[in-house]
């Protein structure tokens, strides 16, 4: 039994958690298992045909990644955020090194889907650009909290490092992950209370830099989403297939496993999995997903608002933006609302690095919710609030961790 405690379901400390953390935990589990459920239907055909593997190959591998991810998730839930914070710069430097290594040392990176670069570690393909995301959240939260106390030298050093990380991710080339990381850091700065002048300057500089650095094939891709029918067999094919899938779903969907477009849509089990979901569950299913994302982000940001520790608050904002923001970005791409860039749907899309990275982020989020009780050290509160605090303290003294 003790061995099983590495998995979140067997965690006996949960009944002592604050209610919000427990609700959040179940919301995240719901998301993870809905993701597995969706992948089961979407991955069957690509596994059997394109990859020429057994039909459940992708699903079984994903189960393995979910298992590993849940162990990581549970470990993080029990690990003080302070420890994680200390590890953030190390994580960033190691992964930045890897990113630069596969970019500049030939033969180290593996090319997949013409534009993604991976690193082969002991037979497993690792995507450093995915794994760097949680460390960026931690470091960003820490950095913007400390911003007023830092000298301009320190500030520009870290701003420079962030810029290099984003650039390295962009050079993968992984435009969407770079954009996501950039937006996340910008929103952290926003939430941390940086002046609008600073924020707009940075945003303008980033956009200008992006316009300069953009590659021709990316321009084509970016413009294509406006009218994919111009090249239905070429650059527009994937988006057209995705739109056809979404539209085929109609109001109520074709039913689980009955998508007809999953036989046509390339990357239907990874970046475009939401299109298959949309076909099988219709607008009702899609609406529920968006509603879920809205509820989850509202819960997180409401909790962040309650939170008095700026580092915690920013970590919550960062994790929320990464999980929910990436989901919205993915739906936008799949529905042809924004330029087509390869961004996976968290917990739904097939992929080991992304799964571990998202589990890491989810673990951080739950940990933040749990630490809110201890971080709250303001004594001057109304009686009811004080009682709540006392109760929490009492609970804390009986267990070790909130």
């Amino acid at each position: 039994m003790r061995l099983l405690q590495v998995l979140p379901f067997f965690d006996q400390t949960v009944d002592r958690w604050v209610p919000a953390a427990r609700v959040l935990r179940w919301l995240l589990f719901l998301w993870m298992f809905a993701g597995l459920f969706t992948l089961f239907s979407a991955s069957h055909h690509p596994a059997a045909t394109e990859a020429a593997t057994p039909a459940y190959y992708f699903f079984k591998l994903q189960l393995l990644w979910v298992g590993l991810g849940l162990v990581l998730f549970n470990a993080l839930v029990h690990l003080p955020l302070k420890v994680m914070m200390r590890s953030a710069p190390i994580g960033i430097f190691v992964l930045l090194g890897l990113l630069l290594a596969i970019e500049f040392i030939p033969g180290l990176g593996a090319t997949r889907n013409e534009s993604r670069r991976w690193l082969t570690l002991g037979g497993v393909l690792v995507q450093p650009s995915e794994l760097i995301k949680p460390f960026l959240i931690l470091q960003g939260a820490q950095f913007f909290t400390q911003w007023p106390a830092l000298s301009w030298k320190q500030r520009s050093l870290w701003l420079g490092i962030f810029a290099i990380v984003i650039l390295a991710v962009y050079l993968q080339p992984s435009l969407s992950v770079a954009a996501l990381c950039g937006m996340m850091l910008w929103l952290l700065a926003l939430a941390a209370g940086r002046t609008w002048g600073q924020l707009l300057t940075v945003a303008a500089a980033a956009i200008a830099a992006a316009l300069v650095a953009i590659r021709p094939y990316q321009v084509e891709r970016l413009m294509m989403f406006v009218d994919p029918w111009q090249d239905p067999q070429g650059s527009g094919y994937q988006l057209i297939q995705s739109l056809l899938a979404i539209a085929s779903g109609g109001g109520w969907g074709t039913g689980y496993g009955l998508s007809g477009q999953k036989l046509f849509l390339p990357e239907g089990h990874t970046d475009f999995i939401f299109a298959i979901f949309a076909e099988e569950f219709g607008f009702v299913g899609c609406g529920l997903v968006l509603l879920f994302l809205m509820v989850l982000s509202s819960l997180c940001l409401w909790q962040a608002n309650q939170c008095r520790d700026l580092t915690l608050r920013l970590t919550i904002v960062g994790t929320t933006v990464i999980l929910v923001g990436q989901s919205l970005l993915n739906i936008g791409v799949v529905a042809g609302g924004i330029p087509t860039t390869g961004v996976p749907f968290p917990f739904l899309s097939y992929g080991g690095s992304a799964m571990l990275s998202n589990m890491f982020v989810a673990g951080l989020l739950v940990r933040c919710f749990r630490e809110m009780g201890t971080a709250e050290v303001v004594p001057l509160r109304p009686a009811t609030a004080a009682r709540t605090t006392r109760e929490r303290r009492r609970r804390l003294s009986s267990g070790q961790v909130p």
């Binding site: 055909h45 045909t49 914070m85 200390r86 953030a88 710069p89 470091q139 820490q142 909290t145 400390q146 007023p148 106390a149 830092l150 929103l187 926003l190 939430a191 941390a192 209370g193 297939q241 739109l243 056809l244 979404i246 539209a247 085929s248 109609g250 109001g251 007809g260 477009q261 036989l263 046509f264 849509l265 390339p266 949309a278 219709g282 607008f283 899609c286 609406g287 968006l290 994302l293 809205m294 982000s297 509202s298 940001l301 608002n305 008095r308 520790d309 700026l310 580092t311 608050r313 929320t320 933006v321 929910v324 923001g325 919205l328 739906i331 936008g332 529905a335 042809g336 609302g337 303001v378």
Partner: protein, 602 residues
Amino acid sequence: MSALPRPTPLKHQPRSRLVVVWLLLMVAATALMLRLLTLQVLDSKELQAKALEQQEIKLNPFLARRTIVDRDGRVVAIDREIYSLWAYPSLIQDNLEATYISEQLAPLLRQPRPDWQEKLRGKEGFRIEQWLTPSEADRLAAKLRTMDPQKWRSGSVELVVERQRNYPQKELFAAVSGFVNADHLGQNGVESSYEFLIKPRPSEAVDRAKKDGRGLLLPNTVPKGVVMVDQNKVQLTLSARLQRSARKALQEQMKEYNASQGIVLVMDTRNGEMLAMVKEPTYDPNTFFSYKQAERDRLFRNAAITDLFEPGSTFKPINVAIALEAGAIQPDTVIYDEGTLDLGGGHVVENFDLSGGNLSIQQIIERSSNVGMIHIVERLKPQVYYNWLEQIGLGDRTGIDLPGEQRGILKTFEELTLSRSDTATVAFGNGVSLTPIQLLQLHGALANDGKLVTPHVVRGLITETGEDIPVLEPRSTRQIFSAAIARQVMEMMVSVVEGGTGKNARIPGYRLAGKTGTAEQPNLSKVTSFVGIFPARQPRYVTLAVIYEPDGDNAFGGTVAAPLVKSVIEELIVMDGVAPSHREEVVPSPPAEPERPPATDP
């Protein structure tokens, strides 16, 4: 970073900034909700139709035509798969790839076109080799699968399957079977009239299935019955064995008399099943396309059902049956035959041998007396006679299950009764036109106790193991003569073979009924015919031989056609193992005691 001081909570933490972040997420989610609502509900119709269009595949299955077999199960027509190896040089990137392809394929090719290796470097698609058997195609397919994908792009060379209709009996069944055109559809014969049985097509409604992004069919969406899995065959009533021997005899006879066309028909009198339907000259359906356009009609036409002729004397027994039915004569009526008869208007009818005298009806038939026949028919009221001709189906079709059957010609009542000679010519079988198959059918009725059956060449559908599958409606039958009268006429016809004009058809030990016919035709020199019914008692088979335009002074129904019918009936005797009805004719005396070997004892 750990070196940095732990930050203290700021007094003016800008909580409004969290509202901005929250609002951003909410606005994005709402916008996406609206986008999905548009895609999935409001504007979904057009996209849904497009999706369905690419997912669905309209099936046009290239199904095998069913095998056609004869009554004993011998294959008459069969589909086989043949393969062609095609190359599409526009998909080949460079000479290196072309060289690789030719190196890999060369050892497996048997008869490729000689310039195929050069043409691989060209532009246009071409057929490297055709007429590949399935086993050769299997070897090539295995090779194409295992070729190195780094060195060539698969798809630039592919195997294309085609179906070919094969007629192993060649010319033997051509008149009946017909052939298939380039679209694998029946042309002529059974292939055309039984298209529905030979090539069952699924209905339009179930003609759709789903495919995946690579264009492959999803097997579970293919409606049942699209791919024919049964091995049922279409069975003919014809017998290849009888057909072959009849054809051989016909060819010999035609050669001897230098005839232009010949027909042999054998029908089961009880049910109308055709056992043989031979027409010469004919064609090979395997290579129907190689015949000259001008020749085609003459060779491809099934004259037994398309060519009208004036039957002449072979029609006389029908007239006798009519006269007996109408009560104009009795079997024992005696009629005076003058030998020659002036009909007026310059028409003088004379008997073949100019003989005459008081003749019984049997003798009139036996001698094929024209004058006697005129007297018989003139005993009938013209209107009664005409009604009878109509009633037995003259001027109509038999309804045989082959395409292109011609309607016989029966003059109108006014034309028929215009002058004495107009009626009189019909009495000995001129002045009416019918097809050989109809003449056969009418004689079949005489042999079948007066019951007219519908001749047909297809028995129906049988399973792989030979069991019948009921698919065809029973063919119509009609009583046209009474059984007693039909038997009386049959007896008269027996005497034709025993001692009359049909002596050449006589088979010792057996009795058969017959009638000769030799008739001048309006546009041909002469058509000789002989109808034979076997056995005389309880008849089973009616055989008709028609030889067109035989040369020679001695070319008559009794000399040209009767021996042909005889040889066909002899084959029937062997086929069915019929015991002789008059043993004494073939076994003159009991066999002698076998001689003992001489004793070897010293």
